[in-house]
């Protein structure tokens, strides 16, 4: 068996099936998306969730036998095993259109600064914490990534390798 960190383990459905007490369950993941962003659980119907390494969750469509030792399984979706779970930019771009809460819409200049990785001061009446950031593209709002709102500031969470001057 190679390095454990390359192994994907399927999430248990609920607490009853959980062997590793630190591992998230599918139920908790769906609750997270609903509670934080108002994304309905049906959004993830037909997908399976997998953990690789400590805390990084992936979402996939197939059902290979768990655990499976390969290089990739669908896309990364959520970072767990920390106080505040953090969605990935990719998950937000793919599923963020279903969100109704903790979504912040930026104008063109602010959106540019956000994808360049800049933090910016702006007003936000809602909760602090991770927000889904959107801007208008081709005449409709489109989720672009994850921001962390604290102390009157939206901190860009765009990973270094994804930052762009658009």
């Amino acid at each position: 068996m190679s390095d454990q960190s390359t192994v994907f383990t399927r999430l248990p459905e609920t607490d009853d099936e959980r062997e590793d007490p630190e591992r998230a369950t599918r139920e908790e993941v769906l609750d997270f998306w609903t509670d934080r962003f108002g994304v309905p659980p049906e959004t993830f119907e037909g997908y399976t969730f997998w953990e690789r390494g400590a805390g990084k969750l992936w979402l996939y469509q197939g059902t290979p036998p768990s655990p499976v030792d390969i290089e990739g399984l669908g896309m990364t979706v959520l970072r767990t095993r920390q106080e505040h779970w953090k969605p990935t930019l990719e998950a937000v771009q793919r599923f963020g259109e279903h969100a109704s809460e903790n979504v912040i819409r930026l104008d063109e200049d602010a959106a540019r600064a956000f994808v360049a990785g800049e933090d910016q001061e702006l007003d936000w009446d809602g909760d602090w914490g991770y927000l889904i950031v959107t801007h208008d593209l081709a005449d409709e709002p489109e989720p672009v990534g994850v921001g962390l709102y604290v102390y009157g500031e939206l901190r860009s969470q765009v990973p270094k390798g994804r930052r762009r001057e658009v």
Binding site: L59, Y60, P64, I70, G72, G74, T76, L137, V144
Partner: protein, 303 residues
């Protein structure tokens, strides 16, 4: 261009062929229908002042005469992926359907993998294999940016592809887009022929045979395999097909290709190949003002 001289006997209008090989090729992008529609991409590119030309045989492709795909909104959102016109062919020939299981034997950096997933409406399973970890990392970056949820990535030699991680299940279809001498990419990489040697061509041909053979083996009866290269060398094209016809149970079948092309050849130097290799298609740069390409469709007989 010197290595190309040996193709004088098999290419019609050889001078036009060489002229085309010397012209640079503009960038092209494919619309990622997993995340956007062709219409929205067209609007977003226009809003970003990026000039595009349509491609007549494929409405999800745009040529960018003046730009390269990288730093713009549609790219950041994973709505588009830089992919040349001819590179789009094999996945359309394979024609995978939603819900199927597909093997992409030489997948990195994933242009065709992500196109396969999009053709399947991102429903089903695409197992993407490569033997190069650095290139696998580029593949992973592309599947993430394009929001693909159906791709599983394995690091192995395609010749020994293992079905174990997936419980031993075979595939409905396989794409075999092998490593090759890349002669057909000369318009994008003008120095691609600098290191050309016949012994490299012959060596890589052995790898190609091994991977295509494995693909036929792991494809279920009634399934389809597509073999493609971006080279003109018959050693890497018809000779590889001829080998798998001998070694495995499969057929090379005809298909429609909405681009000008020449048939596969049955004679090369002192070798001759099975007549059905004429069902494979050779695409030369002067035919459609594209890169060069080779693509064959194989069927595994139903039981």
């Amino acid at each position: 261009m010197e290595p190309l001289d040996r193709y004088r006997p098999i290419i019609d209008d050889f001078e036009a062929f060489i002229d085309a090989c010397e012209r640079p090729l503009p960038s092209a992008v494919r619309v990622n229908t997993i995340k956007a529609t062709v219409e929205r991409v067209r609007t977003a590119l226009a809003d970003a002042d990026i000039a595009v030309e349509p491609v007549d045989w494929h409405d999800g492709l745009f040529v960018l005469p003046e730009d390269s795909p990288g730093a713009n909104w549609p790219y950041f959102h994973g709505w588009i992926h830089g992919q040349e016109e001819v590179s789009v062919i094999p996945a359309t020939v394979l024609d995978p359907q939603p819900g199927e299981r597909v093997w992409d034997a030489c997948a990195a950096p994933g242009s065709k993998t992500t196109q396969l997933a999009a053709l399947m409406d991102d429903a089903g399973e695409v197992v993407a294999t490569d033997n190069n970890l650095g290139r696998i990392s580029a593949l992973r970056t592309n599947t993430e940016r394009l929001g693909v949820t159906t791709v599983a990535v394995t690091h192995e030699d395609g010749r020994n592809h293992s079905l174990k991680p997936f419980g031993g299940e075979g595939y409905d279809r396989a794409l075999v887009d092998v490593p090759c001498s890349c002669e057909g990419t000369i318009r994008k990489n003008p120095d691609t022929l600098e290191d050309w040697t016949l012994s490299h061509v012959e060596g890589i041909s052995g790898v190609q045979k091994g991977i295509l053979k494995r693909a036929v083996e792991v494809t279920d009866p009634g399934g389809t395999v597509v073999y493609s290269t971006c080279t003109f060398a018959p050693e890497e094209n018809e000779a590889v097909l001829d080998y798998v016809l001998e070694e495995t149970d499969c057929e090379i079948v005809d298909y429609d290709l909405p681009l000008s092309h020449a048939p596969g050849i049955t004679e090369w130097q002192d070798e001759s190949f099975h007549p059905s290799v004429t069902n494979a298609k050779r695409i030369y740069p002067h035919h459609n003002d594209t890169g060069g390409f080779f693509c064959a469709k194989l069927e595994v007989p139903a039981e």
